[in-house]
Symmetry: C2
Subunit: 577 residues, 2 copies
């Protein structure tokens, strides 16, 4: 907590007074602010369950033993764990603001998340980072940030900003910025590309962490990537991949999120030989998944059900992530650590019953304390609600007769196939018109192509969630409904629209940067499910998520064909077709 | 390495060019600077021995596998380990300058030491810290510093300086300063004494470590001490003490030095359940002990002989200390880590055969590269060689007939007994005159008392090594030889003198701050042994180290009686007798 105009002496004095109180409480000379009486708690240092009262003062644990406090909770029969940490998540994946995200995950025992604001930064540039920093200030979960390393994700992308190391440099001074987020451009690292390596050396110059993203990388290329200064990986989907990286010193984030789920494959890491270098993350967590399964508690529960030692699993869920990020005051129940607790029923069910953050009960036994509303600068609020620079489109904008590439969907896969060319919609063959509308700079660029395998029989679907640039992607059986859907997305300043026959059938408003809603996760999810139902009603195949499927079609790093604001591209050859 | 007047952009560019070269070598596009061919090396991450070539560029490990280099060493049949780290040592205990210390320990595989310059700082104030920083710059062992927390050691001490938090604060900016050294004043911490707690909160404000020193502390007092922010302890002499501290989150430094040897008692910590929170230190290491036994290699060897898993022992000797001090680029053999290696014959004998620091062979197979002479500011050199402010003393200064307390020596113990009073030397009862001469500020203070059990039959012994203030302590059968011995110590600007019958029989010159010699450890030790022999020849009991015994008699924290510049004090009651 920085205090304006505070002298260094003044700061030391302020901390001195606080520390003296902590010592008096720890030594038993003063009552604690809070005591968890009769606790059974996990000791991450001696790797055992210990018993005693846990005393808290000034938001910190001060002692374990026999204490009295101004506020006491008897936690007999339960187990007190350090609050959970999600080591890597894009908060935007929950489609709500950070406050609503916090409301959703705190009851699951999460007290810290390390977020990469990659999506909003691709829309708003560094204003997106500022927005997220302000939108997370004072929340009862501690949101730490890694700075997006790849904006835009590729040179083919037309994102809201182009960020070099200088653009993000000043953010390293922020007390909640812990490093450089997943360095997805591993070919650029291995090629020693100056613009990429500059970002790494700048992060190192600030003594910050650099997270990795390099599925399957091995051999000398992996050596080069690690030697460059990339300290972790969350993309391991098999044990061999993880062990290769662990052996070279990378920390392994075992990911179990909505889209990618690697826990089963990596469960053997949660053994004494390896677990110390492992932690948990979700990477992305969609609203329905969050409501249905939970968060890090879900991963712990599944790991233990899968045979992992509960003590090792909890350490991966808390202590190890704290050690990796050098968040040295959390991830343990011991004097001097933050009083962040997840109180669970037992070490089999791991049902979270109470959650404390900095010594305050936020959730427990039916009680849920109201969260503060973070104060965000008005100009940033306005900026976040005004991210569309698109003129009103006409039917003609989508009407053309050129031959265009056809992206083929593969059920259950994120890959597409190259299905040749088409020059018109052909419902008999399930070939639909596909468009990406540039929406950040008012360039008027509209990339056109065709999509096969989506199933839509009538109308159009448009969404402004479209990785990683979040331009507007639309698919339709006819140009009129496509224009209507896209125009409606723009009018709403973001979101999802399903239109048919000149009518908007359903819509979801994502008014913050075109990707987030200010509603609760519950309300947002109800609307989302309704919108999905509408899309399925128009024919979209049941095996396909109508919106998530679209949202990956404009990401020109996934084979085979993708569509950008400049047309259909063959990702393998990096040539427009 | 800070470069004067370098812009931030310039710094990033410099690091970029270096990093690009590292990547090219790691990726196999350029030959390495150094390759250890056919290595068997310890992988601290996967906890196993691995095989392959180890490639080095720009002083860093860049890859393990199949590499070629401009310089290659075949290390077949040996085992490559990360260089060893001594987690806590007072370099002054070796009685030589840091360069000579480095020459002595490097062949034992030590590549990093964390030093507390407590002794020299008690003599020279912060000039002592500056001297040590400069005297260690560029050495082939990396000397990190913890700032002395207790100068003077007690309010009864007359040291060369009185340092509050402000006095040491600017040193935290130095890249080789890692924190605040052993907080010996644990009663002050528990009492929440402002002057003590300020030092802790200032170290925390700089995000630095704070080491502990609290033998046997337990219960709420231990909670208070740990809650205050003390992160480690090196004073555990039994397992229960260590486990109590480990459970509360303190890192345990297993100490095996010259004076205190705790390895045997703490060996059970080197097991999978606990070892992760443990490291090795020597605390003090006297010249003879260093030459005879070695350094951290000796501890590893003994631990393994005692039944410890060699992999865990090596991790305690390297990786774990690096993790604790957040020296994140060392303590492992993996890409991006410093190329600091101890090459040993095998994991039973642990005989160090080659030592590399930052990719350079410094010692190996008979070869020993000449060490650079650190450049020390001339004024600091002069300052270090001129630390005595004592007028020439006369026989009368030691001649008095008052009744004084008698300190009783206990063979094999550092404690003294309260042997009542005496008012004259009485050789029949082995009662000798004892004096402490203040030597820092020219106060003229001379504390007088008596010593029983030392055995001297004739002459006097004086030394300027006298913990922690390093005033001159002298013992003798007569005032004339005491005055001669003390005057000679002052003339020599420090050291040890044995005199008898008006003659100096032997002397050891410690010209740097009165506590260090600029000679090699070997030469110094030869002279020291000769001086000891002379003292024993004058009657000093064979079971007693003639100088080390004296050096603790003026430390007013050890029961029962001690002598200060103001007379004999009862440590238990804190009253002069």
């Amino acid at each position: 907590m920085a205090i304006p105009n505070e002298s260094y002496s003044g700061k030391i004095n302020r901390k001195l007074l606080k520390k003296q109180r902590i010592i008096r409480v720890a030594a038993g000379r003063e009552p604690a602010d809070l005591v968890l009486k009769n606790a059974t708690y996990l000791n991450v240092f001696s790797n055992e369950l210990c018993r005693g009262d846990i005393a808290v003062a000034e938001g910190l644990i001060v002692g374990m033993g026999d204490y009295t406090g101004r506020k006491e909770y008897d936690v007999s029969g339960r187990v007190v764990l350090p609050g959970f940490i999600d080591a890597h998540i894009h908060l935007e994946s929950a489609m709500v603001t950070p406050r609503e995200f916090a409301r959703a995950v705190l009851p699951h025992g999460t007290t810290t998340v390390v977020a990469d604001p990659h999506e909003i930064t691709n829309v708003m540039g560094t204003d997106g980072i500022d927005y997220m920093l302000q939108a997370t200030e004072g929340l009862p979960i501690d949101v730490r940030f890694m700075l997006p390393s790849c904006v835009p994700a590729t040179p083919m992308d037309e994102a809201g900003a182009v960020l070099d190391y200088r653009a993000i440099d000043s953010f390293y001074e922020h007390p909640r910025v812990n490093g450089l987020a997943e360095m997805m451009n591993y070919p650029g690292v291995i090629a020693a590309d100056a613009g990429v390596i500059e970002k790494i050396v700048a992060a190192q110059a600030h003594h910050k962490k650099i997270d990795g993203h390099a599925p399957g990388l091995q051999g000398k290329d992996l050596d080069a990537y690690v030697a460059a200064g990339v300290y972790s990986d969350h993309e391991c989907s098999d044990l061999e991949d993880a062990l290769r990286k662990l052996q070279r010193g990378q920390f392994i984030m075992i990911r179990e999120g909505t889209a990618a789920r690697n826990l089963d494959a990596l469960l053997p890491l949660l053994t004494p030989r390896y677990y110390e270098r492992c932690m948990f993350c979700t990477d992305d967590k969609h609203p329905g998944d969050l409501l249905e399964k939970g968060h890090i508690d879900y991963i712990v529960r599944r790991a233990v059900a899968g045979g992992a030692d509960p003590i090792l699993a909890v350490k991966a869920a808390s202590h190890n992530a704290a050690r990796y990020y050098q968040l040295n005051n959390r991830g343990a129940i011991a004097p001097g650590y933050l009083a962040d607790f997840a109180v669970v029923d037992n070490l089999e069910q791991f049902q979270v019953q109470m959650v404390f953050k900095k010594g305050k009960l936020w959730y427990g036994d039916g009680y849920f304390r109201e969260m503060p509303l973070p104060a965000i600068d008005p100009w940033l609020v306005e900026r976040a609600h005004d991210t569309f620079q698109v003129r009103t489109l006409a039917v003609d904008d989508f009407r053309d007769r050129r031959r265009r590439g056809v992206l083929g969907l593969v059920p259950g896969e994120i890959l597409t196939t190259d299905n040749g060319y088409a020059d018109h919609v052909d419902l008999a063959q399930d070939i639909l018109k596909l468009a990406v509308v540039e929406r950040h700079k008012g360039t008027g660029h509209i990339g056109l192509g065709y999509l096969q395998g989506y199933g839509l029989r009538a109308g159009a679907v448009a969404t402004s969630i479209s990785h990683d640039s979040h331009n507007i992607i639309a698919v339709g059986t006819n140009s009129a409904d496509m224009a209507l859907a896209v125009n409606r997305v723009v009018e709403n300043r973001g979101g999802i629209v399903v239109a048919q026959g000149g009518q908007v059938l359903t819509e979801l408003v994502l008014e913050v940067a075109g990707i987030l809603s200010e509603q609760s996760v519950e309300k947002l999810n109800t609307q989302l499910e309704k919108a999905k139902e509408t899309a399925h009603g128009l024919g979209v195949s049941r095996g396909i998520d109508p919106f998530m499927t679209l949202s990956f079609l404009a990401l020109p790093v996934l084979p085979t064909l993708r569509i950008t604001t400049r047309g259909v591209i063959d990702v393998n050859s990096q040539q427009y077709v």
